[in-house]
């Protein structure tokens, strides 16, 4: 009886999770499947996998032959990776400063940053647009990067602070007794221990940036600066009936996020602090 209850509970939990996973994955599967099908097959039997005569790469051919597809991808990559790098660098440094150095104003600053988590950055779209125009940054990738860094920083600082607090204080004290300069205590003693947390934050940072449509829409106007999500929308506008290209472009857009996730998920498995203490 006692053994049955946890088993039933596990079953219930897993069925709920499986149902949710299906809901989350099915649309993506549908996009992937149909991107490999001929146009009439997409409409005739949208739920069938691409088999025999219905298999076609026409969508991919169209996307890759379009002159701007490469630019869109490069822009998305550039914006995402640079934003991620800056969020991680500044986030980790700020988190370290906020947890390690207690000076007047740290609490206030922490509260200010937590407001950043609660208030969506899109509320400030109009102000951001005017600001970027005044700075002469509209229609540049720098504008996007700045916005995304601001968007990602509060959460990054929040997560990394929690993590830094778990690093034993003795380790920093030992480094101080050893005469290690403060900057190097952070970069050479603390940062390597933050790897699992940094991987988590990286994933949390990258996905919304890569998928974002809103800020490219309002901050970029020329094809030179479009990102892939915006590029796909334009496919929709230009070739309103060409679902092959849209689905193929979307499938391609999924790929980098998945690759990055797989790369970082290995880092997510922690245990790196093992051996530091005890």
């Amino acid at each position: 009886m006692t053994a049955m209850r946890p088993r039933l509970a596990t079953l219930a939990i897993h069925s709920v999770l499986s149902a949710y996973t299906l809901v989350a994955i099915l649309p993506i599967l549908l996009v992937l499947m149909n991107s490999f099908k001929a146009r009439n097959a997409i409409f005739a039997a949208p739920l069938m996998p691409p088999l025999g005569t219905t298999f076609s790469l026409v969508g991919y051919a169209k996307v890759l032959s379009t002159a701007h597809a490469g630019t869109y991808f490069a822009n998305s990559m550039l914006v995402t990776l640079i934003s991620m790098f800056l969020v991680l660098l500044f986030g980790a440094m700020a988190a370290w400063a906020l947890t390690e150095y207690k000076v007047r104003g740290t609490t206030l600053l922490a509260i200010f940053l937590s407001i950043g988590i609660m208030v969506p950055i899109r509320l400030g779209s109009v102000a951001i647009l005017t600001m970027m125009r005044r700075l002469g940054l509209n229609d540049t990738l720098i504008a996007l990067i700045l916005v995304y860094v601001a968007q990602g920083l509060p959460m990054a600082i929040f997560i990394l602070s929690e993590f830094i607090q778990q690093i034993p204080r003795d380790l920093r004290d030992a480094a101080r007794c050893d005469g290690v300069p403060e900057t190097l205590i952070f970069f050479q003693v603390i940062a390597p221990l933050l790897r699992p947390a940094i991987a988590t934050v990286a994933v949390f940072t990258i996905v919304p940036i890569w998928n974002d449509l809103w800020f490219p829409l309002i901050l970029t106007s020329s094809e030179r600066t479009h990102t892939i999500t915006l590029g796909v929308q334009q496919f929709l506008g230009q070739y309103i009936t060409d679902w092959n290209a849209v689905l193929a472009a979307l499938s391609l857009a999924i790929l980098p996020v998945v690759v990055i996730y797989i790369l970082f998920s290995r880092q997510l498995i922690s245990g790196l602090t093992a051996g530091a203490v005890k």
Binding site: P168, D173, A174, R176, C177, G275, V277
Partner: protein
């Protein structure tokens, strides 16, 4: 190697005073152990000496230098932590050299020091390993090695044996004692374990709620505790203490059959009498003779502990040797010599007996 001089050191966190007017002199090459219950401020005092905590008042001198405002590394100290605090992603060799790199030392000298420390601590086969591949004892030896290569003026140990298992604790304790003799370095060692304190120290400093209660050689503290706190803290099982009253030179308490403390002068009023469990014997002749009932007998083989209760209700523990032990419920008579009897006045301060 150097002396350490602490003058009137005060430290508080907000409104809580952690250390109150600490004065302490440590001689060159001396091994001083700070003991006390948790929260007594001993670790904070060590961290103040290391420079990891700023002090609010007072002076710290290492050798002839006033180090109040110096960073830990500039104080020429090395600290060994309870949690070892090894750099987890560096191997043993790099753990020892990491700090030296910032002192502008040349590589040959660095390697010479690491080799010497590794030899001393039998770390040679482990130099390429990372901390997570080492046992607890090995990690602690690496931590000690990291301190040695700095060739500090003063070694600071913060409960270095607390994370080790019992057997390893004994052997590492002996290693530290040997190391002290070998390096003849000034060492300050924090522990709450009185065995460590008694065996390692040239001098023990007993601390309680931010103050030094007594300092002295281990046996001085054992034989002549200055107050009730030290009397309770040093010795295991703890010293038996029971209340008595005195008037016109006569000490009275329920269960005292005879008390003759010679010419000792003690005040009238409330007194506390203390006798260590190992100083009682089953006898009815002596300077102090008590009667008590047996509550419980703990037989440890070589010795037995008899838990007694005096007629007044005060509990006593008596260490007994030999196979003959009284039975539970029995009334027995125990005696002690006057040189083993400690007297404390109503404030808890020890009363020096004329013959002590």
């Amino acid at each position: 190697m150097a002396t350490l001089k602490i003058e009137n050191l005060c430290k508080s966190y907000g409104t809580v005073d952690i250390l109150k007017n600490i004065d302490l002199d440590v001689a060159d090459g001396e091994f001083v152990v700070l003991v006390g219950p948790s929260g007594c401020g001993k670790s904070t005092l060590l961290r103040c000496i290391a420079g990891l905590e700023a002090i609010d008042a007072g002076n710290l001198h290492i050798g002839s230098r006033r180090v109040n405002d110096l960073a830990p590394a500039q104080r020429k100290i090395a600290m060994v932590f309870q949690s070892y605090a090894l750099y987890p992603h560096r191997n043993v060799h790099d753990n020892m050299t990491f700090g030296l790199r910032f002192s502008g030392m040349d590589k040959a000298e660095m390697e010479r020091r690491v080799a010497a420390a590794a030899k001393m601590l039998q770390l040679e086969p482990l130099l390429a390993r990372r901390p997570r591949d080492l046992s607890g004892g090995q990690r602690q030896r690496v931590a000690i090695g990291r301190a040695i290569v700095r060739e500090p003026d003063i070694f600071l140990f913060d409960e270095p044996l607390s994370n080790l298992d019992a057997a390893l604790r004994v052997s590492t304790r002996i290693e530290i004692a040997k190391l002290h003799r070998l390096l003849s370095a000034t060492m300050i060692y924090v522990t709450h374990d009185q065995t460590e304190a008694m065996t390692l120290a040239d001098r023990i400093v007993v601390m309680n709620s931010g103050r030094i209660e007594q300092e002295g050689a281990p046996l001085d503290l054992y034989y002549r505790p200055a107050n009730l706190f030290v009397a309770r803290f040093i010795g295991s099982p703890a010293m038996n203490l029971f209340e008595a009253s005195s008037g016109q030179g006569v000490v009275r308490a329920d269960g005292i059959r005879k008390i003759d403390l010679g010419t000792a002068a003690f005040p009238d009023g409330r007194l506390t009498i203390g006798v260590r469990p190992e100083h009682f014997r089953l006898a009815d002749t002596g300077d102090l003779v008590l009667e008590a009932g047996v509550d419980l007998i703990e037989r440890l083989g070589e010795i037995s502990y008899a838990h007694l209760r005096m007629p007044g209700g005060a509990p006593l523990i008596v260490e007994l040797r030999g196979r003959m032990v009284p039975a539970r419920g029995e009334k027995i008579v125990i005696a002690a010599d006057r040189r083993d009897v400690h007297l404390f006045d109503a404030t808890g301060a020890g009363i020096a007996l004329a013959f002590a």
